[in-house]
Subunit: 347 residues, 2 copies
C-alpha cells in the first residue's frame, strides 16, 4: 500500500495500521498454502515474488476501519484479505499462461520457469486454497462471504471469457468494454470493499456504498492499466508493454479512436496495429519504440488518450462520491487518497 | 450409473432412485452454471457433452442411502453431487489442455474447439461455480462441506503437481505412484462418499468408513484406467489410448515392469517407449497398433499387467471390507456391486 501512496502526516497512524495488517495477511496467505509436498511448496514460494501492491487486502482492511471507525482490523478481515489476494494471484498465474507472458513484477512468470502445465495447476491450487480458507470463517457471515467469493470468481471468469470472445473485434463498443472490465477486474475489488465493510458490522446499504466505491475504482484502475500499456515506461511498470494491442485486446483509447476516426484514418490505424490481415507487418512494429510513439500520436489526434484519462478521472470522482454517506475518519481519508492515486500512478 | 452396472432384479428399485437423483443433479448442475452472457452459455453447453458415468454424484446418493437406509436422497445430497461432478469436470477440462487432448467421450474437447485460453478460463469458471454452489448449503454441515471440498480441491491439485514433477521419472516407485493417485483421483471420490454419509446424519466414524471405501475404490479405478490405456479398445473407451506413455506419465504396470526387469530388458523397454533420448523413434510407435502389442507383450513377461490387475482387485476387496460395519441394505449392495464393476469395466 505504501508503494501506492504518500500520505500526509496525520494519516501515518492508519497507514501503519494497514502495514501491520498486511504483514498478517501475508502470514495467513503463506499458512493457507502450506503443503507437505516439496515440489508444490517450491511453486508456492515462487508466488511470493508476485506479491505486489496488496491493493485488495488493503481495501478490505481500510473499508472495515472506515465502516466502523472505532474498530480494529479483525482476524476475519485478515482472512478475507488473504482470500481476495489469493484469487487475484490465481487469475494472474492463469493470465500469464493465456498471454504467454514471460515477465511479471520484474521476475520470470511461473509458466516461463516451470511450464504451462505447472502454471495451470498452480492456479487451480490457489483457487482451491482461497475457497478453503474462505470457508473457515465461522457463522452466517462466513457463509455469506463464501457465497460472495464464489460468485465473484464466476463473475471474473465470465468477464475474461467475454473479453476472449471479443478479441480482435475492432468494432467493440465502449458499453461492452465496460461490461468486460467491471466483471474481470472491478468485481473482485468491489467484493473486497463490500466484505471489509460487512465484517465491520456495516448494514447492507452502507456496504453497498463501499462496493460501489470499489467497482468505480476498479474500472478506473483498469483504464489506467490500459493507458500505461500504451504510454508507460517498461522499466517503471515492471512488465513488457504494448502487449494488449499485440494480443488483440482492445483498450479504451483504441476503442474510442476507432469509433471517432474517419474511415481512412480507421484503415490506417488498423494497418498500424496489424489488424488488417493475418500477416500484417505492423503488429510487431507496434511493440517497438518507433511504432509505439506513432500509435500514441495517432490516438492523440482523435483525443482518445485524453478521453480515456477523463473517463478514469470521472470514475474516481464517482468512487469518491459513493463514500459520501460514510462519516469522516482517517481510514476514509486514506481511501479517498487511494482513489486519487489510481489515476496518478505510473506503475 | 446404469452404464456402469447391471443390477439384479431386487436392486432395480434403488437403481431407479439413483437414476431419478441423477436427473436432479443434472438440473442443479445446469442451473448453477447459468449466465446472462451468450458466449459463456455456449461453452457451458459444451460441457454437457462431457457428462459421463456420473460416478461421484451416484456415490454421494448411494452412500447417503446406505448410511441411513430409511432416508431418501435429500436436496443437500443433490447439491453435493452436482458440486463433486463440477469439480471433476473442471479438472477434466484443464487436463485436456495439459495433455493437448483433442477427443473426450467421443466428442471434441473444449481446447480443441475453442482454444486453450477458453478451456483454462472455463475450468476456472467451473471451479468457482462449484464452490459457490457448495457455499449455498446452510448451517454447520454446509460449512464443513465447503471446507472439505476446498481441501479436496487443494489435494487433487497437489497430486497433479506431484505427477507433473515425476513426469518421465522412469525410477518412480510404487509408493509415490499410490500417493499421486490417492490425491489426484481418489480424494474426490472419497470426499463424495464421506459427504454422502455425513449428509444422511452418519457419525464421523461411520462416514470415515465410507471415505475409506471411496479412497480404495478411487485408486482401483485409476489402475483400471491405466490398464485400459495400455490394453483397451479405443472404440469402447471413447478417447485415444496409449497417451499416458506418450506423455511420460508412468502407470502401475510400467512402474512394476521397470523395477522387475533385468538391466538389459529395462534398457530395451525404455527404448521401446522412447524414453532413452529426446528424439527416440519408439515413442510414436508405441501409440500405433504394432508397438502397442509389443509393449503389452513386454509388460506381460514380467507379470506386470497381472500385477496391476491384482493390485486393483485387492483394493476392491479392501474397499468392500471398509463397509463391513454398515448394515445390509439395497444401497449398500449396489455399492458393493459397483466396487466389483470397477475392475471389470472395459471403458
Amino acid at each position: 500500500m505504501s508503494a501506492i501512496l504518500d500520505v500526509p502526516p496525520d494519516l501515518l497512524g492508519v497507514q501503519q495500521t494497514i502495514a501491520d495488517a498486511m504483514a498478517r495477511v501475508e502470514q495467513r496467505f503463506n499458512d493457507a498454502l502450506r503443503t507437505d509436498l516439496p515440489p508444490v511448496e517450491a511453486l508456492c514460494r515462487h508466488i511470493e515474488s508476485y506479491r505486489g501492491k496488496m491493493l485488495r487486502p488493503a481495501l478490505v482492511a481500510l473499508c472495515g476501519l472506515a465502516a466502523d471507525p472505532g474498530s480494529t482490523v479483525s482476524e476475519d478481515h485478515i482472512t478475507v484479505g488473504a482470500v481476495c489476494e489469493m484469487i487475484h494471484m490465481a487469475t494472474l498465474v492463469h493470465d500469464d499462461v493465456l498471454d504467454e507472458a514471460d515477465v511479471r513484477r520484474k521476475g520470470a512468470t511461473v509458466n516461463r520457469l516451470h511450464g504451462n502445465e505447472a502454471a495451470v495447476i498452480l492456479g487451480d491450487y490457489l483457487f482451491s486454497a482461497a475457497y478453503r480458507l474462505c470457508s473457515s470463517i465461522p457463522g452466517p457471515l462466513g457463509q455469506r462471504t463464501a457465497l460472495l467469493i464464489g460468485q465473484t470468481g464466476m463473475t471474473l471468469c465470465a468477464g475474461e471469457l467475454l473479453q476472449l470472445h471479443h478479441r480482435e473485434d475492432y468494432s467493440l463498443d465502449e458499453a461492452t468494454y465496460f461490461e468486460i472490465v467491471e466483471r474481470k477486474t472491478a468485481s473482485l475489488i468491489a467484493a473486497s470493499c463490500r466484505l471489509g465493510a460487512l465484517h465491520a458490522g456495516a448494514p447492507d446499504d452502507l456496504a453497498e456504498r463501499f462496493a460501489e466505491f470499489g467497482m468505480r475504482l476498479g474500472v478506473a484502475f483498469q483504464i489506467q492499466d490500459d493507458l500505461l500499456d500504451l504510454t508507460g515506461s517498461e522499466a517503471v511498470v515492471g512488465k513488457p508493454l504494448r502487449r494488449d494491442v499485440e494480443l488483440g485486446k482492445l483498450t479504451l483509447p483504441l476503442i474510442h479512436h476507432l469509433a471517432a476516426a474517419g474511415q481512412r484514418q480507421r484503415g490506417r490505424t488498423l494497418a498500424l496495429i496489424g489488424a488488417d490481415g493475418p500477416d500484417a507487418a505492423g503488429a510487431a512494429a507496434v511493440g517497438g519504440r518507433g511504432a509505439k510513439s506513432l500509435l500514441q500520436a495517432v490516438l492523440s489526434e482523435t483525443g482518445s488518450i485524453e478521453h480515456a484519462r477523463e473517463s478514469a478521472i470521472a470514475l474516481v470522482a464517482r468512487a469518491r462520491a459513493a463514500l459520501d454517506p460514510v462519516p469522516d475518519s482517517p481510514a476514509k481519508r486514506v481511501l479517498l487518497l487511494m482513489a486519487e492515486a489510481v489515476v496518478d500512478r505510473a506503475f
